[in-house]
């Protein structure tokens, strides 16, 4: 009996749901959107999705080989590979999707250390890099209900998306129903609002994604759109136009809730949602870019640790409620005594502050970066004498 016994850590009962099940839920939530894209734009959207998945997973295998760790069977690159084509138009050439996936894996994930430690949302960075590089390709969308040829030049008529006409301040010439059902031209996966919302709710019910970020993003954003409409239409209508154009709802359910880069605590997620709403609102109104959502998201990823730190300080006070209130009472008592008998104020010690800028004694400014190069210091020194 003895030889087969294995060691395992404290809680010997574990939840049945694992990372793999969560990721498969997200993939299942993305498939109906691909079906709708196939319905509107023909087989090319499926081929684009396939290209996205293959390039992302191959590159991430290469990356994990490069990181010299054995490739762990995780599905995050597949999700990135599925999300990127959904933000692009259906008739985009294949090399753009491959370059977006390459940027998403090789610039965002591999240098920062694999799946768990990327500081930015790979899908957002991938899409932003493609949108900046080929704006004329990314921001013109084929008209729906016409199959785009899978290979070769696409002959489908091109039309501007409602988001573009909104950024010019003109009322888009598609009514709200069109945009709900997705017949308005736009990014492949982000126009059929009903299907996207349904998949989002499916994700929230399956607990693969938390419900706080999308809700705390969509509510303030719609409030802002109603207060400051860009187009002279009734506030409710302007809200619908703003919300249904420009991949806002798709981004709220699939990109904003990416677990690695969003804050960890629920209160932090709330703060992130609200500030993301404000930043996306500003980006869309004053940004020079039609698709401001992706770059606003990258900015929000920078502030997620700050929201966590705020939460932690609030909770720290709550946890130490009693000890803090006791010390406060003691403080008040001490102040009362001080008021009664005057005390000679001790001379203030001149506290020396560490001089900013370059520490003097380093012969060559070897560590320009504050990140500790501890294990490389000696090797750096003997390199200096080289």
């Amino acid at each position: 009996m003895k030889e087969k016994l294995m060691f395992q850590n404290a809680p010997h009962v574990r939840q049945s749901e694992s990372v793999v099940t969560m990721m498969t839920d997200v993939i299942f939530a993305l498939l109906p959107i691909y079906f709708m894209a196939f319905f509107y734009h023909g087989a090319r959207s499926l081929v684009l999705g396939l290209v996205g998945i293959i390039s992302c997973s191959v590159l991430s295998l290469l990356g994990s080989f490069f990181l010299r760790e054995k490739p762990v069977p995780d599905l995050t690159p597949i999700i990135t590979g599925l999300i990127i084509p959904l933000l692009l138009p259906a008739d985009i050439p294949y090399y753009t999707v491959v370059s977006a996936c390459a940027v998403a894996i090789f610039v965002v994930k591999v240098p920062f250390g694999g799946t768990g430690s990327n500081l930015f949302n790979p899908a957002a960075v991938g899409f932003a890099s493609v949108a900046i590089c080929w704006p004329e390709l990314v921001f013109r969308y084929p008209v729906t209900m016409q199959a785009v040829e899978v290979f070769g030049k696409s002959t489908v008529k091109i039309a501007q998306s409602p988001a573009y006409s909104l950024s010019l301040g003109a009322v888009p010439d598609y009514n709200i129903l069109d945009m709900l059902l997705g017949t308005a031209p736009g990014p492949m996966g982000a126009t059929n609002i009903l299907v996207v919302v349904a998949c989002g709710i499916f994700l929230i019910v399956k607990k693969a994604v938390n419900w706080i970020t999308p809700v705390s993003f969509l509510l303030p954003y719609s409030a802002l759109c109603m207060i400051f409409p860009r187009i002279s239409v009734s506030p409710l209508e302007s809200l619908c136009y703003e919300l249904f154009s420009g991949a806002i709802i798709f981004g709220a359910f699939f990109m904003l809730t990416e677990p690695v880069t969003s804050p960890k605590r629920d209160f932090g997620k709330l703060m992130a949602g609200i500030s993301a709403a404000v930043v996306v609102f500003l980006f869309r109104y004053y940004g020079g870019f039609e698709m401001g959502f992706a770059s606003a998201l990258i900015l929000m990823n920078v502030f997620s640790p700050i929201f966590d730190a705020i939460c932690e300080s609030v909770l720290h006070v709550i946890r130490h409620k009693e000890s803090i209130s006791d010390s406060l009472k003691a403080e008040m008592k001490r102040k009362k005594e001080e008021k009664e008998k005057p005390v000679v104020r001790p001379v203030k010690k001149v506290e020396e502050t560490e001089a900013p800028g370059i520490p003097e004694e380093t012969e060559v400014p070897e560590e320009p970066v504050e990140i500790d190069l501890s294990e490389e210091k000696e090797e750096e020194k003997e390199a200096a004498q080289l």
């Binding site: 012969e363 400014p365 320009p368 390199a383 080289l386």
Partner: protein, 206 residues
């Protein structure tokens, strides 16, 4: 001669001013868009570093530490004029694409910090040699980066068109940072390989 060559290579690879010490990053990231800009930056860098090193090694020591920075800035500003004429020689409209970056080299970290921290303590010959090697390191990095970005963004080298543009956004500042980051990583990788092969040869010999 072998020691100097080894030290010069050391400056270029192991103590590359840009990739390892992180000295002059902004100019390369935003200013170094094509090969001509790289050449302009390197020439200006040469004309600034060598005289300032010389000045620091000889006169700089005597000036009190807080005040020598002014002289370095004025010397490098004075050296901007000859650099201007040379830059104008290889292309008239160089300053439209390079903008203010060649002129900004005058107050970059090399003449201000590197000279007052290192060149003052070295002898004249060593400071001069150090200055030349740093310029070499900078020029190599600038050339590689400039060529890569020009080829990617407009498919041409020094203005002569080779292919059509592969990645038009390569000349933007954020791609400059990312490419610099990857070049620095490749440099670390090369250093690793050299160190490992060095250790392996020591094991065989020991």
């Amino acid at each position: 001669m072998k020691a100097e060559l080894k030290e010069c290579l050391g400056y270029i690879f192991f103590k590359n001013p840009v990739l390892v010490l992180g000295l002059v990053l902004g100019h390369l990231a935003a200013g170094d868009i094509n090969l001509q800009n790289a050449a302009a930056l390197s020439v200006t860098f040469l004309f600034i570093t060598v005289p300032v090193m010389l000045f620091a090694a000889t006169v700089g020591k005597k000036i009190p530490s807080g005040f020598n920075v002014v002289f370095y800035a004025l010397v490098s500003a004075a050296m901007l004029f000859p650099a201007y004429y040379i830059c104008k020689s290889f292309s008239a409209t160089i300053f439209d694409s390079a903008g203010i970056y060649p002129a900004l080299l005058a107050v970059s970290t090399v003449p201000i910090v590197y000279s007052s921290k290192i060149a003052e303590k070295q002898g004249v010959a060593k400071a001069l040699f150090g200055g030349v090697c740093i310029t070499l390191g900078f020029a190599l990095t600038a050339a590689v980066l400039g060529a890569a970005r020009e080829f990617l963004s407009s498919g041409s080298l020094w203005g002569f068109k080779i292919t059509e543009a592969a990645y038009p956004a390569a000349n933007l500042p954020f791609w400059g940072f990312i490419l610099l980051g990857f070049m620095a990583a490749i440099l670390n990788w090369v250093k690793d390989i050299i160190r490992k092969s060095g250790e392996k040869s020591e094991e065989e010999s020991a």
